[in-house]
Amino acid sequence: MKKGNQTDFWSGVMFTAIGVLFLVVAYGVKFGDTVLLPGYSMGTPARMGPAFFPFWLGLILAVLGVAIVINALRSKEAKPLEKFHWGPILWVLGAVVAFGLLMKPIGMPLAGLVLVIVSSLGGENFRWKPTIFLAIGLVVFATGVFVYGLKLPIPLCPDISNLQDMRACRV
């Protein structure tokens, strides 16, 4: 398994998988009378249904993916897959997801603090004090630009009814 162009091999696998996914969802899955996925209508070339374009594109993508896989297996130069660094991935994307989850319940400023602090944990030489200063500074700046400057409808306060009625929570 470690021979050939591993990078290309896995990219081919990815393309094939995605291609098949689009193709199957467009076409639908039926076993006899049981319909697992209804699919979309195919139509005719003159009156194409919603399934027509994605079905054929999905098929082409899957075929291309298979071709990439075959090419990779035949490739003489060995190119191992680069290492995945899960640390930064989890800290950074985890911080983003946390922000998304917290935005509406606790408001943008508090969620923003969480975002900056959690994502900073993914970097090297993490120190609490400068990070907290950075977080506060960024939140104040972002509030000024997006909420007061551009007047975007962004929740400022936690979603508690008597807080929402406060003047400072409405822009």
């Binding site: 990219s11 194409m48 950075l134």
Partner: protein, 499 residues
């Protein structure tokens, strides 16, 4: 038909103190929202519409137009500095602009982007002044079949964007086309690939994908490289482009301007198609195409001039025919109506001071943008010397708020995280994301025009080769494909030879 007299009239309107001021406010705001990820000109203009109620119509339109082309300008700044396309049309600017910044040439890249944009904006303004009506007529000649063929040409051109495996680039384009199909099908109203999520009924936003695939994945990659990364921010050479740089960038700027001006007139593609094809053209014409993607100055000049030229010329169908060529232009129509001006073919004769005033203001606006941006370059470059561990949380928070604000949907924040991971996967699998983005933008338009063309021809594919415009475009696409394939084929031969 006296252009000179008309332009004089235009400048007499545009150069009043108050109109210069509104123009300045417009381009300043545009630059700001261009720099900020997510929030785009559509949202800004629709929010600011009520504020323009009290202004005279010309001033209001001058300001709103300034926001639009100012955003094209500002979008390139973050593309160059942190690999984050502020606007879709600056996606290609990331390719070489960001590499230049990594080599310590961020100032040069920003300077060339500003100057190329100014040049393109000026030429496009003259084009509008001199040839708006015939150019608009040309745009009307394009039927659905011709649009489809144009998209095919654009997609073939996108293959060139990636260096490395050809077949992977094609796969990425198709993947982009498929992602573009997520959401409600315009023709039947069926929600495709939405997996029951109401937020996906309207499709995935381009901002979501661009921010995730370009911005977030780059942050993760920078973090995993740790100390190694610090090198590129410390060695800044040349704050502004020198003569040699400008000389190198000039032909690219000229070609980018021409291409962008033309594509801007056509409804739909506009700045995006312009910047992608200008980059492709440069890479194909270059003596050493391998420099592209590694910090070639032409790779910044060409797309930047093209997207700015296209942003200007996309006003042509609006001003001469009352046809909006993109959502921002549709909003401009709304703005005109609210100000009691009926957009349409009669606007040039009925309201010459408005028509020419707006055109003249575009030149003024472009000039203001250069004046505004050149001194800013030093500041931007300084930003790069900020320790990365303080810079990336800042990028993240602006991206997250920006992406949320597009639809006020937290789902978009989650999707951006997902695309951040996918983008990281792309890096690891050595597949380049730029073709994917073009496919994503063109996918829905391509399907729509294909279906419309075949509906009009009652299913006969002959429309694609019987219409002269479509035929020429398809021949060009085929020729380009052959040119792209040739080096690959000859390389294969060489390999075979060596065995």
């Amino acid at each position: 038909m006296d252009i000179f007299g008309n332009l004089m009239l235009g400048f007499s309107v545009a150069l009043t103190l108050s109109n210069i001021m509104y123009c300045f406010i417009g381009v300043l705001l545009g630059t700001l929202i261009g720099v900020l990820p997510g929030i785009g000109p559509i949202a800004t203009i629709s929010m600011l519409l009520p504020a323009t109620f009290v202004l005279p119509p010309v001033s209001a339109l001058i300001m709103l137009a300034g926001i639009y082309y100012g955003a094209q300008y500002g979008g390139s700044t973050t593309a160059i500095l942190v690999n984050l396309p502020g606007e879709v049309s600056s996606v290609v600017t990331c390719l070489d602009g960001y590499q230049m910044a990594r080599q310590g040439k961020a100032g040069k890249a920003l300077g060339v982007a500003a100057l190329a944009s100014f040049f393109a904006g000026s030429v496009a303004t003259l084009l509008i002044a001199g040839f708006a009506p015939p150019l608009a007529e040309l745009a009307l000649k394009f039927g659905p079949a011709d649009y489809f063929s144009l998209m095919v040409l654009g997609l073939v051109a996108a293959v060139v964007l990636a260096h490395g495996s050809l077949i992977k680039a094609i796969a990425m384009i198709i993947l982009g086309l498929l992602l573009g199909l997520i959401g409600t099908d315009v023709n039947s109203g069926v929600a495709r690939y939405s997996f029951g999520l109401p937020e996906l009924i309207d499709g995935v936003g381009i901002g979501t994908i661009a921010m995730g695939v370009f911005g977030f994945s780059e942050i993760i990659r920078n973090l995993e490289q740790g100390e190694k990364r610090e090198v590129f921010t410390k060695s800044i050479t040349g704050l502004l482009p020198n003569w040699a740089d400008i000389k190198q960038a000039t032909p690219a700027t000229l070609r980018g301007t021409a291409l962008g001006s033309f594509l801007g007139i056509l409804p739909g593609g506009g700045p995006v198609l312009g910047s992608f094809s200008a980059y492709t053209l440069e890479k194909k014409l270059a003596k050493d195409p391998s420099r592209f993607g590694k910090g070639a100055i032409e790779g910044v000049a060409a797309p930047e001039s093209a997207n700015n030229a296209a942003a200007q010329t996309s006003f042509i169908p609006l001003l001469t025919l009352g046809i909006p060529s993109n959502p921002v232009m549709a909003l401009m129509i709304g703005a005109m109506i609210i100000h009691g001006i009926q957009p349409g073919p009669q606007i040039m004769t009925a309201k010459p001071e408005l028509f020419w005033g707006m055109i003249a203001s575009m030149w003024v606006g472009n000039f203001l943008l250069v004046v505004l941006n050149l001194p800013m370059i030093g500041l931007w470059v300084k930003l790069l010397s900020v320790d990365y561990k303080y810079l990336y949380p800042a990028i993240l928070i602006f991206c997250c708020i920006g992406v949320y604000s597009i639809n006020n949907a937290t789902m978009d924040v989650f999707l951006t995280a997902l695309f951040g991971f996918i983008g990281y996967l792309f890096i690891k699998l050595d597949t380049e994301p730029a073709p994917l983005l073009l496919g994503f933008v063109l996918g829905p338009m391509m399907e729509e025009n294909l279906r419309r063309a075949l509906l009009l021809s009652r299913g006969s594919p002959s429309v694609f080769y019987e219409r002269p415009i479509s035929l020429v475009l398809l021949i060009l696409a085929f020729a380009l494909l052959v040119i792209v394939m040739l080096p690959n084929i000859s390389k294969k031969r060489e390999e075979a030879f060596q065995e």
